[in-house]
Subunit: 400 residues, 2 copies
């Protein structure tokens, strides 16, 4: 039998992270590779009570509704919760519940990307976004970025039509808070400048904010979307503040494009699981996150601190650089001149420590010296042991 694949299928690739996770699934390894929230933060008891409430506490009709087909938009009380939780004026009609925020990226790609469309991303950017956009065959262009975020002048240059094309970029995908992979956040000044410039040149923004609640000392500045709701699609997630295994996220979009996102959603999976939506709505009642999320913040801050301290100690005398995030799950490391993170990985794994080489996160021109470390899955003791092992691997690698 001859299966003729679509052209786009040839452009799809296995996730580099997934492949690395396979390699690093050996007993005893300390992994800084995955982007897995700390499972000790999952509110198991709250979920158990909510499941019970949804299936047994509200009578048979309510239980049956949680197991029946439902509206593609999402469970209305959950849409209302999302709208009320956001720091700008959002109608529940502008909220679409998605099967994880990854699905939001898939829907954005389907509705906004034609073959050859220019799509702008940060340098570096979230790998899952590159994977979601690629099947629609865009030309993905990285915009120069520094520690404060994107370079708005370069953004304007890259957004303009090139080479006689009549059309500029379709949108700029940006993750302003504790970015994956770098952990960096955009400053207030840069956010203001970005939104102003994007509005001036008519460039839509797709703002992804899975980590915004995971700040250590101070909440980040308001979202980009709060500053220009008609010019932005906003993606959020329950994966980092509750648990990823329920696969629930949401998108907020201007009324003008919501019908098309909704039609794409319906074609993709009809609706996100009604049961999960009702369970999460039940958990969220009565300000649950206000009590729950501070514990996640404190844990991640402590683990980030442990990793920074360990880096300070263990990397002494090595030409290794790293940043100091204000929240989130990741920090970003640059290896000494001439060293290649992908080549370092097997030696690190031999020393029982794993990370993700940074190259996968670049739309083009990867930085071979960069790597991503997650500080949220391993314990403080594992972090100390793992960073010492990483330093040892770097030393050996430097000696060739």
């Amino acid at each position: 039998m001859t299966w003729t694949l679509a052209r786009r299928a040839h452009k799809m690739n296995p996730s580099v992270i997934r492949e690395i996770l396979k390699v690093t699934e050996k007993p005893g390894i300390i992994s800084f590779a995955g982007g897995l929230p700390s499972p000790q933060t999952f509110p198991i008891d709250a979920f158990a009570k909510a499941c019970d409430q949804v299936l047994r506490g509200g009578g048979a009709d309510s239980a049956r509704a949680s197991l029946q087909y439902a509206a593609s938009e999402g469970y209305r009380p959950l849409c209302e919760w999302v709208a009320a939780s956001l720091p700008w004026d959002v109608s529940p009609d502008q909220v679409l519940i998605t099967t994880g925020s990854q699905q939001g990226l898939d829907l954005v790609a389907k509705v906004l990307i034609d073959e050859g469309s220019r799509v702008l991303v940060e340098t570096p950017t979230y790998l899952g976004a590159l994977q979601a956009f690629t099947p629609m065959e865009p030309q993905i262009v990285g915009v120069s970025s520094d520690a404060e975020g994107v370079d708005v002048d370069d953004l304007e240059r890259q957004a303009a039509p090139t080479d006689g094309a009549i059309e500029g970029a379709r949108f700029f995908y940006v993750l302003p808070n504790f970015q994956n992979p770098t952990g960096r956040s955009m400053s207030e000044a840069r956010r203001a400048a970005l939104v102003e410039r994007a509005a001036a040149i008519g460039l839509p923004l797709v703002e992804d904010n899975p980590y915004g609640d995971l700040w250590f000392d101070h909440p980040p500045p308001p979202p980009l979307t709060a500053r220009n709701p008609e010019g932005c699609i906003y993606l959020g997630s329950f994966s980092k503040v509750l648990a990823p295994g329920l696969r629930l996220g949401f998108m907020v979009a201007p009324k003008a494009i919501m019908p098309k996102l909704l039609q794409a959603k319906q074609a993709a999976d009809l609706h996100s699981p009604s049961f999960n939506q009702r369970v999460v709505a039940e958990v969220l009642k009565d300000g649950f996150l206000d009590r729950h999320v501070p514990g996640i913040r404190a844990l991640y801050k402590a683990q980030c601190g442990a990793m920074l301290t360990a880096l300070q100690t263990e990397m002494a005398g090595l030409d290794v650089q790293w940043n100091s995030p204000d929240g989130g799950m990741f920090l970003w490391v640059r290896l000494p001149e001439g060293m290649n993170a992908a080549e370092l990985l097997p030696r690190a794994v031999a020393h029982n420590v794993a990370f993700v080489p940074g190259a996968a996160f670049f739309a083009a021109d990867p930085d071979p010296r960069a790597l991503r470390l997650s500080f949220v899955t391993a314990s403080e003791e594992q972090i100390r042991t793992g960073i010492a092992a990483l330093a040892q691997a770097i030393r050996e690698q430097g000696q060739g």
Copy 2:
């Protein structure tokens, strides 16, 4: 702000059924329109026990795993259950758990359809498949079909390259058991002929089987895929035998194309909810479906019987035709010569009864006289009342 939509977005449409469901959401209406399984069949108690077992019965590590990110392939014990449940030799590695079988259609579209690709469907066919395929911009072609299923000679004609094209059809999408919308099933002879002809001309089949377990008196003949596994993708669902609200389905694909389907799945939503997969695996243990599904079959058989009896009684003297399904959820009605189902609908709604006009289910050349009736959501008494009301509407419509 100017949002430039992808060309495919202009081809997307709101679901006709969804729009009809809105119109027919009035108090007291008897709806034969939706394809909603009877909620009284949902095994609420089994789900409640399984949620409890997953979150509280297996210790904290097991509970945490159910809430964590997981492999895109699906929860291994569930993949193993699916493989073992099918009547041909399937490895768990060929099983991909999907977010409802609707997502299987989306993944098939992404991996197999290029702009302009010929895709063959039955006449009529499942509306959700048309919606899932359309965004990838195929040329969808309906193959002639009769009460026994597809016309294999017409299939061969339509599969061939046309108008100087170098390429024939990419695949034929087919729903052999108790089809949505018609309720018809393919005979054994037609299945054998279809698989043989498809293999001879190298045409892949995409077999959708959400209703196969819902037979009334005898199980249907074996699936098409069992006869030529290398030439078929098989889609299945837990929506009709357990409940749709968990959004779990599966696909079985030849090893050659599984990696691309898996990459598309990962880009679409990373994985289907780990929690739901573990809950369903827990429910399915110890032969649950063997005890549960016979009750669904008996209920739907009784309701189908009630509808057929009511049609016999109420349509007396009217030139209305209908079929007599051997299982599933739907039957197919043809109105008298010259009558239009879409035009009849408002009058039917005025009489407090709703259906879906058949036109939406055709890739081209809709039959304006056809309509779909679901017999599973309404009670037998409602069925009698609703069919009497429908007959009244038809009489009035006939009098102009």
